[in-house]
């Protein structure tokens, strides 16, 4: 008999794994953001009509969100396109102002844009280049030193450490426009961390990157978080990022938080079954295996069943006693599937 495979490290409770005893770094209360958008109809006549009368409507990008993040946490904001993740990050970093609600980051109201606040955090946007395009990254680093008033010795030490960690020593003197997306993103991360921020906001940092670059960035971010105790809030579409980096997951759909808790908690809360995969000696006779659970797939002697979580302790011994089992594995429903189902439910207007 094979070992049961549990894909993610499990925690016993479902509560948000906020770093206990650590000070609160981000406190958000009923934060909301509305946009007024103008609809533009198709066609020349409609365009001319639009010169005199435009149809406006309000879009609620964020609807009264509450969130508390403690020092040292690594929080993933997950949601479908247009869910409000990036709007949330922009509010927390003070780029835009909210329509209602309050927020403090490191004790500051972000949209007041105090220099004392802006020196203590960094924002990296995977889809936007923040380094000088035509110049080597070393020039952008130099500017960064001036803007953040970093002591030259400390600057050199931090830069060299970060460059070594990401193995980008050979890239810092090449014009940014000549670098690949993955190389650029590594240098963006170096630039963002030069002033040793206490909070790091990452907006889809691995978008478009190959597997190797993703893995390097995951390893780097884990190291940064552990060594420097940086609080990280990450938005992403990739479950790989979430699993590799975060203990806490915040699912946002249609501007509201649908789930805030541990990775394991989402499995417990939104699924009532587990996936049991059996490798039998032979193809089971029709109707024989269905009594244990719902058969998702039967491919020869390999059978995948969906079994109620509450029945699993009874069903497994029964299978092992009564069936010619070569190997068995028990897994949670894949996180991607749960999240996709949550997104679909939200899109359909389900609560």
């Amino acid at each position: 008999m094979g070992n049961a495979v549990v894909p993610y490290t499990r925690r016993m409770d479902n509560s948000p794994p906020a770093a206990p005893g650590q000070p609160t770094v981000i406190q958000v209360d009923r934060l909301a953001k509305q946009y007024r958008v103008f609809d533009k109809r198709e066609g020349l006549l409609a365009s001319i009509r639009g010169l005199f009368h435009r149809e406006a409507r309000m879009v609620e990008a964020l609807r009264g969100v509450n969130l508390t993040v403690n020092r040292g946490e690594f929080v993933a904001l997950l949601g479908p396109n247009g869910a409000g993740k990036t709007t949330f990050l922009k509010l927390l970093s003070g780029i835009i102002t909210p329509s209602a609600g309050t927020a403090t980051v490191l004790g500051h109201v972000p949209w007041e844009r105090a220099d004392a606040f802006r020196r203590r955090f960094a924002l990296v946007m995977g889809q936007r280049n923040q380094l000088w395009w035509d110049l080597p990254a070393a020039e952008s680093f130099r500017l960064h030193r001036e803007i953040y008033r970093i002591d030259p010795t400390r600057f050199a030490r931090t830069r060299d450490d970060l460059v070594a960690m990401l193995d980008v020593g050979g890239l810092v003197n090449r014009p940014v426009r000549d670098l690949s997306l993955g190389e650029r993103m590594k240098l963006e991360l170096v630039a963002a961390l030069l002033h040793e921020p206490e909070v790091l906001f990452l907006d889809e940092p691995t978008i478009g990157l190959d597997v190797v670059a993703q893995h390097t960035i995951h390893r780097f971010l884990r190291h940064v978080r552990e060594e420097r105790h940086v609080t990280v809030v990450l938005t992403t579409h990739y479950m790989k990022d979430v699993v590799a980096l975060c203990e806490r997951l915040v699912v946002i759909t249609r501007g509201s938080i649908l789930y805030d808790g541990s990775l394991e908690g989402i499995v417990d809360r939104f699924t009532s079954h587990k996936i049991v995969t059996l490798d039998l000696d032979e193809t089971p006779a029709p109707g024989r295996i269905e009594r244990f659970g719902f058969p998702c797939e039967i491919r020869g002697p390999r059978v995948t069943l969906r079994v109620d979580r509450e029945r699993i302790a009874d069903v497994l011994p029964e299978i092992l006693r009564g069936e010619p089992v070569r190997d068995v594995s028990v897994e949670d429903v894949p996180l991607e599937e749960i999240v996709a189902e949550l997104f679909r439910g939200a899109a359909a207007g389900a609560p």
Partner: protein, 272 residues
């Protein structure tokens, strides 16, 4: 203040490095700019083959008028070199969300947005302007008094400040509107009025234009006041002119600051 100057020097250095990377483009820009200026000067020389003075009794004979043109070149070269390239880039920064990166940096956003690019090729016109001014002044019947020389750079700075404030207000409009090409065209049309002596704006059409461009949008003070101080006889009338120029520059800077901050507060950011 020293920190901001240091940051500006870093920007200036980076822009120089970039310009030197694209040397052919840099030289082409210098040649284009100088070519356009030479055509303008040739046009004014042509005008003076038909007349001895721009407007009867105005004092704008050939050499004083070329001192006026030189002042315009110097003011515009400073604006074009240090402020306009950044302002022109603003629409793109807003469209692509690049402004987001500016707003998270612990630095005054107005400083960063208005001074992060330097166009060195525009300084070529300024150098020609300085040369032209020297030539014109050397041919004056009476050289300008020392006080005029002292006031001249101050008044040029006031002119630059007025144009800078105008750019900042247009930049604020860009932040509010998201795109603003026509308003930059408007800036070009408006500054065209500043290129000629105020005396030509007379009569039923010229009078209102002169009033508008002096008291509402003080564009006529930009070149006229420093040029008059250096190129016309220095009299007691200079006092109110200098005061007007200083006052207008200060008022425009304050107003533009308020408008810009208000626009930043309403910034919506581009969708990602």
């Amino acid at each position: 203040m020293g920190r901001y100057f240091g940051i500006f020097l870093t920007f200036a250095r980076a822009c120089l490095v970039r310009d030197m990377t694209f040397r052919a483009n840099f030289l082409l820009e210098c040649v284009t700019s100088l070519g356009w200026m030479s055509m303008n000067l040739a046009f004014y020389l042509l005008v003076f083959t038909f007349t001895a003075e721009i407007g009867r009794g105005t004092g704008w004979t050939r050499e004083p008028f070329f001192a006026f043109v030189a002042t315009g070149l110097i003011v515009n070269a400073i604006v074009q070199a240090f402020f306009m390239p950044s302002a022109e880039e603003l629409t793109e920064l807003i469209r692509t969300g690049g402004l987001d990166a500016v707003l998270v940096q612990p630095l005054d956003a107005q400083f960063l947005l208005s001074l992060h690019r330097v166009d060195y090729s525009s300084l070529a016109n300024g150098l020609v302007g300085v040369g032209l001014l020297g030539w014109a002044v050397s041919r004056f019947a009476a050289p300008p008094p020392l006080v005029a020389w002292v006031l001249y750079p101050v008044l040029v700075a006031c002119g630059v400040a007025i144009l800078y404030a105008l750019i900042i207000m247009l930049a604020a409009a860009t932040i509010l509107l998201g795109r603003n090409q026509s308003l930059y065209d408007f800036w070009f049309y408006l500054t065209t009025f500043s290129r000629y002596p105020a005396e030509i704006y007379a009569g039923p059409w010229g009078g209102p234009i002169r009033a508008l461009c002096t008291f509402v949008i003080p564009i006529l003070l930009v070149v006229n006041v420093p040029a008059r101080i250096i190129a016309q006889p220095f009299t007691a009338a200079a006092g109110p002119l200098v005061a007007a120029s200083l006052g207008a520059a200060a008022a425009m800077l304050v107003i533009s600051r308020i408008v810009f901050q208000a626009a930043l507060a309403k910034y919506r950011s581009a969708s990602s």
